[in-house]
């Protein structure tokens, strides 16, 4: 089996996460007087630790603690029955009213856009947000749907036979982004 090609390590990931936090605050934080509140919604699995990392930067650098949510989109996928293994349904936790919220969806990789399509359906079943933005650590630039990320850590061009694997020490042993052969 081909060994994974490491693209980025922990320090580069940290810088990218800070960049995402800066981009978010550039949009939401500029009106100092009536600062627009926003919430972070991490998508399982790797969007959840990423959202936590972004929140940590927001707290330390901008003294802003956004409300946090976790969203599982297994019930909304369009490849149900096409995948060899059924995903485990993780616990969705949305501790606030989604109605009229400014939502920043957070996921590790934007690829075909199908996960985000499902996430939009799922989110809107919980309420009617005022606005939804998308933050991703890696944009592969191969979206099959008209879906684009608003805050991007890395732009990576990647052959379709490969997938981008993002690891966080919270779920995995290390912080790393690598390119691995995609066994479909």
């Amino acid at each position: 089996m081909e060994t994974p090609e490491k693209l980025f390590g922990a320090s580069e990931m940290q810088l990218a996460i800070e960049k995402i936090a800066d981009l978010i605050m550039a949009e939401f934080g500029k009106k100092a007087d009536d600062k627009k509140e926003f919430v972070l919604v991490g998508l399982f699995k790797q969007g959840v630790p990423l959202a936590e990392r972004i929140a940590e930067v927001l707290r330390k650098k901008y003294n802003y603690s956004p409300e946090m949510a976790k969203l599982d989109i297994s019930m909304y996928r369009d490849d149900f029955g096409l995948r060899s293994a059924l995903p485990i349904i993780n616990e969705t936790i949305i501790p606030f009213d989604m109605h009229e919220a400014n939502v920043i969806l957070v996921d590790d990789v934007l690829s075909t856009g199908r996960t985000i399509r499902a996430a939009l359906d799922a989110l809107t079943d919980y309420g009617r947000p005022d606005l939804i933005r998308l933050a991703v650590l890696v944009d592969r630039n191969n979206s099959e749907y008209p879906i684009k990320a608003d805050y991007i850590g890395f732009d990576v061009e990647c052959d379709e036979d490969y997938k981008i694997r993002v690891e966080f020490s919270e779920n995995d042993d290390v912080d790393a982004i690598s390119k691995v052969v995609w066994k479909r």
Binding site: S74, M75, F80, G81, A85, L86, I88, I89, N90, Y126
Partner: protein, 311 residues
Amino acid sequence: MSADIKWTKKDLLCLYDLSKEEIIHILDTAQEFKKVSERKVKKVPALRGKTVVNFFVEPSTRTRVSFELAEQRLSADIINMVADSSSLKKGESLLDTVKNIEALQADIIVMRHSCTGAQDFIAKHSKCGIVNAGDGAHSHPTQALLDMFTIREKFGRIEGLNVAIVGDILHSRVARSNMWGLTKLGAKVTLVGPATLVPEEFNELENVRVCHTLEEGLRDADVVNMLRIQHERQNASYFPSTGEYSKYYGLNEGNLKYLKKGAMVMHPGPINRDVEISSAIADGENSVILEQVTNGLAVRMAVLFLIAGAL
């Protein structure tokens, strides 16, 4: 949440066939589906484009309604077939009926039948996923799963609990399914009822015991599951009269003292008030009868979701 388990079964026939891990996986999955019914939008698109046929050769209202609503909340297309109006009446064989359902590109058949093993037979001959909604006195897996879900929700575990099942064990698929499922998850089961309705052979099963008095059966029970006395059995000399049955095996204020404080009272419904359970207890603080109904919906959504994913 459960460990990474791969659900591969296209049918749910009997809890006897499932591993402990698979049962826990269904219960964990159901926990998330329960929340769907608590939202403003009580629907997810998980089974969009899938067709589910509810094929009830033996009549049922509550189980069918629960399955039907579960299917609707998963966005499946639904067809309801009952024996009275099906071609079984016109002499078609069960297998031919199922083959016709299959020819309509149905994906899942939820089936109830009065003959033990009918669903097992169909599952072997059909590409469709088969969900057993009750076969004879053999198995009613989703009822046992919803009972276990309700127990786990209250106690946080099933392992180590004592569960008493009281009533007509002989004819009860609910009792059998509960027995398989509960013992797999580490509970101890006590079967209580008159000797005519509780086969002694169940004593030979691990972690199952048989007893014939409510006093003995309720002692140490964390959960007591009261089965319905089926009217069709009442004249079949299993017991002298309903009144006498009720006196010795009905749960009422008189024998409530045998029950541990905080014990949970369950009933698969429909209840015969003041026969197997008194109104005060059925409506009392120990009763979870209506929670069982709510949880049944979540468990059935989870089962359909997992089966559809394995097709």
